[in-house]
C-alpha cells in the first residue's frame, strides 16, 4: 500500500499557496460535466456540498437524519478557533499551528495542520458573511474567549450554540444550492457501501430509511464526511445516530484506516446516572474559563460541597498544572479526574465525579455575567440533574467525545482509494493523538469550504477517468451484498436486543480501551470482542422487515459494524506501545504519571489495511517528519 501524503515541497508556510498555483484546474464550463457524491451534511459535508455546487459541479448529498440541518455538528457548544489575533494577545497562524501540533502530542501531519491554521481566518470571514451571529463586544466587533490548551483568546462563539450557528450557515448555503437544483439532497438515506470501478471510487449504494429501497448512485468522485465513531463505546456525547458504518465499509473496500485508537475522552460531562442511560451530555469546556475543578482532600468525605472548607479542598488541576490550571488540555484533565476518583476522592453517588465550581467567578463577576456567558449550559445542567449550578457546584466526569482516528488521507484529503475523499471528523489528519477544543469545527469547515473545492478538481483533471454508470456489474454486486446482509440481520431472530449487545461492547471498550489501557486488558478485549460478535450474529433480535421504516434494523447494521471495528481499535491500541495524547498506556508513563511518548519507535501514523474477513489487517506506517517544529515532551505545568 502506498502511503504517499503528496505534501508539496518548499517551506511550510508556502506549501498551500504553491499547491494552489501548481494544481490542475477544471475549466468553468466543464465543471458541470462532473458528478460528486457527498455523504454527510455536517459542517464538513454541508460546506463541501455547497461550495462544490457553487463552483458548478453536480452534487448529490446524503444524510440519515430527516434534514441536513440536524447533523451532529449542530450540537457543538463552545466555539471555533481562528488565528485572527483580534485580541492582540500574540496569536498568529504559526501559534495556532504549533498549539494544535503540540496539543496533538506530535502525532499529526505538519503540512496539513499548517494549512488548517492558515485557512482558519477565512472561515470566520465566510461565516460572518453568511449571517452567523457570533458574539460581539459593545463596540460591534467580534468577541473571543479562551479554550483548553491555548494561552491566547482565539475562540469565536455564538452563545453556547456555536456548532448550531455554523451548521445553519452551511445548511443555508447548501439549501440555496438545493433550491437552485445544483444539489440533489437525499435525507433519511444511509450509505451502506462505496463502489469501486477499476480501483477508483465511482459511487455508493444506499438504503432509503423510509421505504427500505436499496439504490445505486454513480459519480466521478465520492466525498465521505460522515463524522466520528465515538458511539462504538455505546455511551458518548455523540448523537445517537453517529456511526462508523460509512468509513468502515470504505475500509473494507480498501481505504486505509489511520490511528483508530486515538479517541478523546472529554473531561467535562454530566456523570452517568443509571443503566437506562442512552447518551452522555457534554458541558462545554468553555466552562473551565470560569469554573474551578476540585475534589475533597480526604477520601470518603461525604459532606455537601459548600460545607467543605477551602483548606480541605484539592484544586488538583491548579495544583498540578499551575500555568494552564483549569485550562489544561482534555486528555490531561480527564486523566487527572480519573486519578482522583480512583483514589476514592470522587464525588456524587458512585464516586465517579468531580466538582466544577463557579462560586468564585460569581463572586467576582456577578451571577448576571456568568448567566450571560453560560446560561444555556446551566439550564441544561438543571434539566438533566435537577440541580442549580449557581448554588451548588456542577458534578462532572469524563466521557467519550471525539475520535481523532479515521480514514487515512493525503494532503489532498484523498484516501488510499483514488477518487474517495474524506473530510471532517471522519478523516485522521489534523489532530494527532488529542484534539484541542474548538478545533473540530475549524477543521470541518476548512476541509469543506477551502480544501476540497481545490483538490477535487485536480483529481478530475489528472485521473482522467471514464464516466461510470449504475448499470455496471460492480453496482449490482454491491447492491446484492447489501441486500444479503440486511436479510441476514433480519433472519437471526435471537433473544438479545441489539442495544444490550451494544451496551456490553461499549462497557468492554470503556474498561479495557478507555482512559487508561494496558497490554493484558487489551488482549482480553481482543479475545472477548469476537465472542460478542459471534453472539450478535447468532442471538441478536432484529424485529420487523426491510421494506419498511425500521429503526431497529438501522441500529443493528451500525452495531454490526462496531462489533468488527472495535477489534481494529483495540489492535491499534495494543500495537502502539507508548502513551501519547488520548492514548494512555499505563506501562508507559513518566514518574509523575504523564504520558510517555516514544518518538524513536512510534513517530508514525498507523494505517491499517483490510485483508479479508479471516485475516488480521495489515499495518502500514507513515513516518511523521517535522521540518518546522521540534518534538518535545508536552508540558502544561
Amino acid at each position: 500500500m502506498n502511503l504517499d501524503a503528496k505534501i508539496p515541497s518548499g517551506p511550510l508556510e508556502k506549501k498551500w499557496d504553491r499547491y494552489r498555483l501548481e494544481m490542475k484546474l477544471v475549466n468553468p464550463a466543464n465543471k458541470r460535466k462532473f458528478d460528486v457524491i457527498v455523504v454527510g451534511s455536517g459542517l464538513a459535508g454541508a460546506s463541501a456540498a455547497a461550495s462544490l455546487a457553487e463552483l458548478g459541479y453536480n452534487v448529490q448529498c446524503f444524510c440519515f437524519q430527516d434534514s441536513p440541518r440536524r447533523a451532529h455538528s449542530i450540537a457543538a457548544q463552545g466555539g471555533i478557533n481562528a488565528a485572527k489575533n483580534y485580541t492582540n494577545d500574540g496569536d498568529s497562524i504559526f501559534r495556532l499551528f504549533y498549539d494544535t501540533i503540540k496539543g496533538g502530542d506530535f502525532r499529526a501531519r505538519e503540512a496539513n495542520v499548517y494549512r488548517l491554521a492558515q485557512v482558519s481566518v477565512n472561515i470566520i470571514d465566510q461565516c460572518v458573511a453568511q449571517g452567523v451571529p457570533f458574539a460581539r463586544e459593545y463596540g460591534g466587533l467580534l468577541a473571543n474567549r479562551s479554550f483548553g490548551g491555548a494561552q491566547v483568546s482565539r475562540t469565536f462563539y455564538a452563545r453556547g450554540q456555536t456548532g448550531q450557528q455554523l451548521l445553519l450557515g452551511a445548511y443555508q448555503a447548501l439549501s440555496r444550492q438545493i433550491g437552485l437544483g445544483a444539489v440533489k439532497m437525499y435525507p433519511r438515506t444511509e450509505m451502506l457501501d462505496v463502489v469501486l470501478i477499476d480501483g477508483h471510487a465511482k459511487g455508493v449504494v444506499a438504503r432509503n430509511l423510509v421505504t427500505g429501497e436499496i439504490s445505486s448512485h454513480a459519480a466521478d468522485a465520492v466525498v465521505l464526511a460522515t463524522g466520528g465513531y465515538g458511539n462504538v463505546f455505546y455511551l458518548s456525547t455523540n448523537a445517537r445516530g453517529c456511526n462508523v458504518t460509512a468509513i468502515y465499509r470504505a475500509f473494507k473496500k480498501g481505504a486505509a484506516f489511520a490511528n483508530p485508537c486515538y479517541t478523546q475522552i472529554h473531561p467535562t460531562c454530566i456523570p452517568v446516572s443509571g443503566d437506562h442511560q442512552s447518551k452522555l451530555t457534554l458541558m462545554s469546556e468553555s466552562l473551565r474559563n470560569d469554573g474551578r475543578v476540585w475534589v475533597p482532600k480526604s477520601t470518603g468525605d461525604k459532606r455537601p460541597p459548600r460545607q467543605i472548607p477551602e483548606s480541605e479542598r484539592d484544586y488538583y488541576l491548579e495544583r498540578k498544572y499551575p500555568s494552564y490550571g483549569n485550562l489544561a488540555p482534555r486528555d490531561i484533565s480527564s486523566r487527572a479526574a480519573k486519578e482522583v476518583c480512583d483514589e476514592g476522592r470522587g464525588v456524587g453517588s458512585g464516586g465517579l465525579g468531580v466538582y466544577l465550581d463557579f462560586a468564585d467567578a460569581i463572586n467576582r463577576l456577578g451571577q448576571r455575567t456568568i448567566a450571560e456567558r453560560y446560561g444555556n449550559l446551566f439550564s441544561m445542567y438543571e434539566t438533566i440533574t435537577g440541580e442549580n449550578a449557581y448554588e451548588v457546584p456542577m458534578r462532572i466526569f469524563p466521557a467519550v467525545h471525539y475520535t481523532m482516528g479515521g480514514l487515512w488521507v493525503d494532503y489532498h484529503l484523498m484516501s488510499t482509494i483514488p477518487g474517495l475523499f474524506v473530510l471532517g471528523e471522519a478523516n485522521f489528519s489534523d489532530h494527532g493523538a488529542n484534539r484541542l477544543g474548538a478545533s473540530a469545527l475549524m477543521q470541518g469547515l476548512a476541509d469543506g469550504y477551502f480544501v476540497i473545492p481545490y483538490t477535487i478538481g485536480h483529481y478530475f483533471v489528472s485521473a482522467k477517468q471514464a464516466k461510470a454508470s449504475t448499470s455496471h456489474p460492480e453496482f449490482k454486486k454491491a447492491e446484492e451484498e447489501v441486500k444479503v446482509r440486511t436479510e441476514k440481520l433480519l433472519s437471526i431472530r435471537g433473544r438479545r436486543t441489539v442495544t444490550s449487545l451494544h451496551r456490553e461492547l461499549g462497557k468492554l471498550l470503556w474498561d479495557k480501551c478507555g482512559m487508561a489501557r494496558h497490554e493484558a486488558g487489551l488482549k482480553e478485549a481482543l479475545r472477548k470482542i469476537p465472542e460478542l460478535r459471534e453472539e450478535f450474529w447468532r442471538n441478536a433480535n432484529v424485529p420487523g422487515e426491510n421494506q419498511d421504516f425500521n429503526q431497529a434494523l438501522e441500529q443493528a447494521g451500525r452495531v454490526a459494524d462496531y462489533m468488527e471495528f472495535a477489534e481494529l481499535l483495540c489492535l491499534d491500541a495494543l500495537n502502539r506501545r507508548e502513551s501519547c495524547g488520548g492514548h494512555f498506556r499505563t506501562e508507559f508513563q513518566t514518574e509523575d504519571g504523564e504520558a510517555l511518548r516514544d518518538d524513536q519507535n512510534f513517530a508514525f501514523v498507523s494505517a491499517w489495511e483490510y485483508q479479508g474477513p479471516a485475516k488480521p489487517p495489515a499495518l502500514h506506517k507513515e513516518p511523521l517528519v517535522y521540518e518546522e517544529v521540534k518534538m518535545t515532551q508536552r508540558s502544561y505545568k
Binding site: 430527516d66 434534514s67 440536524r70 449542530i74 461565516c127 458573511a129 460591534g140 442512552s278 451530555t281 419498511d548
Partner: protein, 248 residues
C-alpha cells in the same frame, strides 16, 4: 414509578392509526422521556413485537429531531424544553400519558410518531439564506454590528426547526419558524441586502406547502423549546409589507 402510556400507532402514511395502551413499569425519575420509551421498546423487541417508531438524534435539545405531542402538548409543556430533555421526574406514579405525533397537513406521518418535515427545508431553500458563495468574503470585523442587534438576531437564530410551533397551532401555521429565520437574517447588515426578496419568497413557499394562516394566538410561542418570541412574527409582517410596497 409505574405509568400507563397511550401511544399513537400507525403502520404507514396512509394506513389508519389508533391509540394502543402500554404499561411502563419501574420508570426512574432520572430517565429522560425518550429513555423511558427506549426501555418500553426493549421490552417490545424482547416479546417479538414492533417497537414504537419515534425520531431523535442529539438528545440534548439542539438538533430538532425529536417531536412528540405529550398529553396534548408538543414537547410536553415544560418551558424551553424539547421532548428529549424532558425528564421523568416531572411525572408521578400511576400517571396515564398520551403520546401522539405532530399533526399538520404539511407534516405527513411516516410511521407511528415519526413525521415528514421536509416542507420546512423547502421554505429555507426558497430564500432562508444570504446569497454569498464560498470565498471572497470581507474581513469578519469589516462591518461592526451593534451588540443588541447581534443578540436579537441570535435569539431568532436559536430556532431548531422542530415544528412544535406548527403542531401547537390550531391552523397549523408555520409563522413562528419562518419569522425566526427572516428575523435572524434581516437583523444583520449582511442579511439586509436581499431582505425583501427573502421574505417574499419564503412566505410564498410557506403558503404553497399548505401551512395555515396565523391568527396570533400565541400557542406556538408557548411550546417553542427555544422560546422564540412572538414579536418576531410582527417583525416579519412589517418586512413583508415593506417588500410588498416596494414590489408595487
Amino acid at each position: 414509578m409505574n405509568l400507563t402510556l397511550k401511544v399513537w400507532r400507525q403502520k404507514s402514511p396512509n394506513a389508519p392509526g389508533r391509540f394502543i395502551t402500554f404499561q411502563a413499569d419501574g420508570v426512574i425519575p432520572d430517565m429522560s422521556f425518550l429513555e423511558m420509551l427506549d426501555v418500553v421498546n426493549e421490552g417490545l423487541i424482547e416479546k417479538g413485537e414492533d417497537p414504537i417508531a419515534f425520531d431523535s438524534d442529539c438528545r440534548e435539545g439542539i438538533c430538532g429531531m425529536c417531536s412528540l405531542v405529550i398529553n396534548g402538548v408538543p414537547h410536553g409543556g415544560h418551558k424551553g424544553t424539547a421532548t428529549c430533555q424532558l425528564h421523568m421526574r416531572h411525572f408521578k406514579d400511576g400517571d396515564t400519558i398520551t403520546i401522539e405525533p405532530w399533526r399538520a397537513r404539511a407534516f405527513p406521518i411516516i410511521k407511528d410518531l415519526v413525521v415528514n418535515r421536509w416542507a420546512f427545508d423547502r421554505i429555507i431553500q426558497a430564500g432562508g439564506f444570504i446569497s454569498v458563495s464560498t470565498g471572497g468574503a470581507p474581513d469578519a470585523n469589516a462591518i461592526p454590528i451593534p451588540k443588541a442587534d447581534q443578540d436579537q438576531s441570535m435569539d431568532a437564530a436559536a430556532c431548531i426547526g422542530c415544528g412544535a410551533c406548527v403542531a401547537a397551532c390550531k391552523n397549523a401555521s408555520a409563522m413562528l419558524f419562518v419569522a425566526a429565520k427572516v428575523s435572524h437574517l434581516s437583523l444583520l447588515p449582511q442579511g439586509k441586502v436581499e431582505r425583501h426578496r427573502r421574505v417574499t419568497n419564503m412566505v410564498k413557499a410557506m403558503d404553497a406547502e399548505g401551512f395555515g394562516a396565523c391568527t396570533v394566538t400565541g400557542s406556538c410561542e408557548a411550546v417553542c423549546p427555544k422560546e422564540i418570541n412572538l414579536t418576531f412574527i410582527a417583525r416579519m409582517n412589517r418586512e413583508y409589507l415593506a417588500a410588498w410596497f416596494k414590489g408595487k
